[in-house]
Amino acid sequence: MIACWSCHKEAGPSPFCSACGELQPARPRDAFQVFDLSPRYHLDLAVLEKSWRERSKKLHPDKFVRAGARQRRFALEQTTLLNQAYKELKSPLARAELILRSNGYSTPTAEAGKAGAGEKLPLEFYEEVMVDREALDEAKAEGPEAVQALASQVLTRRDATLAIIDRAFADWERSGDAAALGPAEPELAKLRYYARFVDEVEGRPHD
């Protein structure tokens, strides 16, 4: 059991003690737990956003300006955790990776020294990447319309990838069988590539 710092009774999983209502320190929880959601890929983002706002209104440090230093620190921790979880759940890619990780799949985490080359892509996809690269150079020489056309072509392929991911996660959501996620794993690597490619086409530094 986790005891409340204030009343020393069982605090429960919520940010506020279930016994006395005092704000608790942030405990490590995954993004779904932060929002009291069971892990799902298919999320209603409007509902998620509403939930984020409602939670912000209760947890934000601005709501604790007159409280003690301890509560202010907890408010900072809780809101930081909340914002992080929201950012993660908002992105289909991050959401999918989180589900894969908690189902025993390995997904690459952010590491220094990544050059895009360490990614484990299927071999035929690697060739697709090379073709795109050359096409991008040609399109750049040709002009903005050509670049735009290439970008929308890549976006179409990205949508196809998203559809496969979508199906795999739908299967998993129905069956609860982690093996159903198998087909999604290589597609996620493609999705990361598409995101970087589109960023580059649009002149945004990838991060």
Binding site: E49, K50, S56, P61, N83, E111, A115, G116, Y126, P205
Partner: protein, 606 residues
Amino acid sequence: MGDSGKAVGIDLGTTNSLVAYVEGKGAKVRCLVVDEGSTLLPSAVAYVDGQVVVGRQARRLAAEHPREVILSAKRFMGKSADDVEVRRLSPYTFAAESGPVIRFALGEKSVTPVEVSAEVLRRLRAEAQARLGEVTKAVITVPAYFDDAQRQATKDAGKLAGLEVLRLLNEPTAAAIAYGLDKKKDGTFAVYDLGGGTFDISILKLEDGVFEVKATGGDSALGGDDFDRALAQHFLAQLGADRAEPKIVRAAIDAAKAAKERLTAERQIEVELGGAKIAVAREDLESVIKPILERTGPACRRALADADAGPLDGVILVGGQTRTPLVRRYVGELFRLPPLADIDPDEVVALGAAIQANQLAGEEKAHDDILLLDVIPLSLGVETMGGLVEKILPRNSTIPVAMQQRFTTYVDGQTALDVHVVQGEREFVQDCRSLARFTLRGIPPLPAGLARIGITFQVDADGLLTVSAREERTGVAQTVQVKPSHGLTDEEVERMLLESYQHGEEDIASRLLMESRVEAQRILAAADKQIDSNGDLLTGEERTEIESAMRALVEAAQGNDHRLVNERIAELDRASAEFAERIMDRGIQRAIGGRSIDEVSESGPG
């Protein structure tokens, strides 16, 4: 609280300042008349003949006493003598013994920008007290880009004027509050604020009582004054006065300003200048100011892209310059929406501040459920190999926020890691602002790439940054606190954003090449060393294959094609994948000594 003093909202502007108040149960909010029948008090303060005069009267003294009449103290708030703004051409003389805070020299005495601003606030407070009784509290608005020093200076000015500053509110947020609550309407709004000397754009989302700043941007050296100067130039050209005297230039600028204002309602007017009459049509004004106006476009598009908030529900106009019909048309076309202008664009910020003041002072409980969520204006990152920046927190992240990134060592046996924290959008360290440096020591000596170092950035609700680094195997940790905004001027913020925009493509290409070369070097060095020390793990055939992949990579890294380099890196990776795994196993075995594999298995290969 026995304190009966009233709370007001104050827009402390560069050119004009206003005070507003929420009155009665109906929560009617309005600006008070403060200067010669107007709600606008020119932010001008004259120190003439031992007297202090504020407002229009002070402005009229400016021509005769250029040094003793301070017209735009706001530009100097929180600045030191080294700041660009201070060195820019201006009629003021600064006291020599300035120290960290600049002082305007006024003959035998000198005043700080804080004191000048306090005079403006004192006058607003006095005018409000004449109508409302005792006024002791205020919400004062500041530009979204104001840094810590500027915000602190504004707070000090309030204190000097006898006001308890309940909160400093960002100007665009104040404008959105004025519209949001007046209409009780949720949605995503752009706030387009074109003042006399500055331009700001913000994208805000209002829903369920939460005001979320999605993105901000702007240009602190672009405004209506530029319109006036351009139109004045047009007049002077018509007069054939190519090398005009300062007096005529001054007269031309005044005439231009008046003409611009008249052309809001009229289509064709006549201007008198230097004894000559010049006919001006609205079209003339528009063709002169259009190129200046169009400079606001890129910042708007970037803010919209950053906000990624879907279609806009409205565009709010703020600042007197948005009265100009061309500005309204341009904004309408830019955002594909007719802009909202039903609240006076000069008053809207003060009105929003008054609503916030009313809530914070607890005089009206109706809207106390409001929360403002702010963002960081510039990305935060650390320096990595080759002088590159690894962004850890992207700009416009909602605060408070934290993010962790994993790093590793590049050299065998490396026991210390330098952490250099930077702020900005560019790809190279030298183009970003350096915030802090520290060294994480006590990393256990391991083969290169095996140490796991987590660097965490935490920005709290006030925008203060804490950076900590931790080696995960040993728990060795180091923490440093930095102020991301400290001393960073609006100009610096904008210059950095602008440059990232202009150099984006060129940066990416050279970044990609640099990255791929660094990676190539790292991999080649590692491969070399591993063949030396772990060559016994390879068959002769495997060894030949790896060595030919290495030669191909060396060749590619000498060229300028990052894709070829990456391709060859991937080939070398493939050729040596099996080898790397065998080495990793051996390395871990050695590094952990007597510990069991299970203890570290969760960290896997780095």
